[in-house]
């Protein structure tokens, strides 16, 4: 049964629509009761269109941005729950990456409308195998704030688009934000269930970003502060996904993005990637459209 057919069958199973209910006595009574009150009275209702209050403006870019964000990172604790693969026995790629899923408290700076746009913005799009996971560093924020970073170490199998630095062609580390609490124990559990098979990664080199940032500072006539220089140096060895949209894994007979936030940050690019049934077919598509 096709999607359109499913939609059609679901529509045909629609329960009563209650057309004309508003003309019943009970409905009229409800309206009369409401109109007998004054509209100015305070209410506790929250309309659905009202945006939530300003949330964590998290930019998973380099340490320069991350260091700025760390003071704001009070909400998401990616490893705060016992949902690691080792804890529930799941071995799938989705289960492995689930603790790294971008939390709904994060608002990303970058979003892409299509696979092609994300590939264009990436340093490289690769197929790769996960070979390790480890904690990489702790970025200090204001006061006692700490941002723990986690690195997924991958072995590139094929560069589908763009280019990797020479030292990254055999192996590279993709950094994720692990939250404000030490994730070492959870990472150790994840080590025990590394996903098998290839996945498609839309990667950004943090070294390139650092260089660009320095160039921008220079153009603006600014000298980078010692902290900025230190942050840029700290970023250099790592890559990141261009956004939470930038990873696709094989999950049974399907391709899925295991890290995208299903709240605010999802979009057509994820749907576009997930329409493929095999990661290899998605890789073919990226390769063909470069």
């Amino acid at each position: 049964m096709k999607n359109r057919d499913i939609h059609h069958v679901l529509r045909s199973a629609r329960p009563p629509a209650y057309d004309g209910w508003h003309n019943t006595d009970e409905a009229r009574q409800i309206l009369a009761n409401i109109l007998s009150t004054t509209p100015e009275e305070e209410t506790h209702m929250t309309p659905p269109t009202r945006r939530r209050p300003a949330r964590i403006a998290l930019i998973a870019a380099g340490a320069v941005a991350a260091a700025t964000a760390v003071a704001l990172l009070a909400g998401p604790q990616l490893f705060g729950q016992d949902n690691t693969p080792g804890s529930n026995g799941q071995q799938s790629a989705s289960a492995f990456f689930e603790p790294l899923r971008f939390g709904t408290g994060m608002r990303e700076a970058e979003q892409y409308d299509s696979l092609e746009a994300a590939a264009e913005a990436a340093s490289a799009v690769v197929t790769a195998e996960v070979v390790d996971i480890r904690t990489t560093r702790v970025i200090k924020g204001e006061g006692s704030d700490r941002l723990y970073m986690i690195g997924v170490v991958v072995r590139p199998v094929e560069i589908l688009d763009g280019a990797l630095g020479e030292t990254s062609q055999q192996q590279l580390t993709v950094e994720f934000i692990g939250g404000g609490e030490d994730p070492t124990a959870a990472v150790e559990q994840m080590k025990a269930s590394l996903p098998e098979g290839e996945s498609v990664w839309f990667l950004r080199s943090k070294a390139e970003e650092g260089e660009r940032h320095l160039g921008e500072l220079k153009q603006a006539g600014r000298t980078p502060s010692p902290d900025e220089v230190k942050a840029i140096e700290g970023d250099k060895p790592y890559y990141r996904v261009v956004s939470s949209q930038g990873l696709f894994v094989q999950e049974g007979q399907e391709v899925t993005n295991p890290i995208v936030s299903e709240d605010e940050t999802s979009d057509a690019m994820v749907v576009e990637g997930e329409k493929y049934d095999k990661v290899t077919n998605l890789a073919d598509h990226v390769r063909e459209t470069r």
Binding site: M1, P15, P16, E26, I30, P39, E41, T43, M45, Q253
Partner: protein, 183 residues
């Protein structure tokens, strides 16, 4: 005089909203709750609309359904129960002759049976997309998410529904990616 005029205008607007949308709001609630609770949801929803009438832009239905959805969620939380949407659906379908012969009874049973195995969230996005004649962006507003997030949720819910319906359907879903069906 101006105040009295404003007041009458506000009242007329609410009456207009009620006439246009109360059926749909009641249906939305009655699909999830018993009739008495559904009436309460309508009452609370339009009371909220009355108090926030200045904020409600046309089309108003997504705002109303989104508000009703929150009230229903609170109601369910209060009573520590789930909507059991498909249970209600089975009861409602068996209570009436649907009159819709465009899909076979077997197909309907098959889809409803598969839906029973899905999460509440999946059931919700599937039914909101199919039952209330909403566009994608309106449905997103009802569910309180962005249109992009709605598209992803719908896509995934349909995929899980196909999976529940068997390997052949799942295979077909994989080769026929999500196509947003606008009513």
């Amino acid at each position: 005089m101006a105040d009295a005029g404003d007041s009458r205008s506000t009242q007329r607007r609410l009456e207009g909203l009620f006439t246009a949308h109360a059926d749909r709001v009641y249906a939305f609630a009655a699909h999830r709750l018993d009739p008495e609770a559904a009436r309460d949801v309508v009452s609370e929803t339009f009371l909220a609309a009355w108090r926030r009438i200045e904020e409600i832009r046309d089309p108003a239905l997504p705002w109303l359904l989104g508000t009703a959805r929150k009230i229903i969620a609170n109601e369910l939380r209060r009573h520590s129960r789930q909507t059991a949407l498909t249970e209600r659906l089975i009861v409602m379908t068996s209570e009436r002759d649907t009159g819709d012969e465009s899909a076979s009874a077997a197909d309907r049973q098959s889809v409803i049976a598969a839906m029973r195995h899905l999460s509440e969230a999946d059931q919700e996005v599937l039914t909101v997309s199919a039952w209330y004649d909403l566009s994608g962006s309106e449905a997103a507003k009802v569910l309180g998410c962005s249109p992009g997030a709605y598209a992803v949720r719908l896509h995934r819910a349909r995929r899980r529904l196909h999976r529940q319906m068997g390997p052949a359907a799942a295979e077909d879903c994989a080769s026929h990616p999500v196509q947003e069906v606008e009513p």
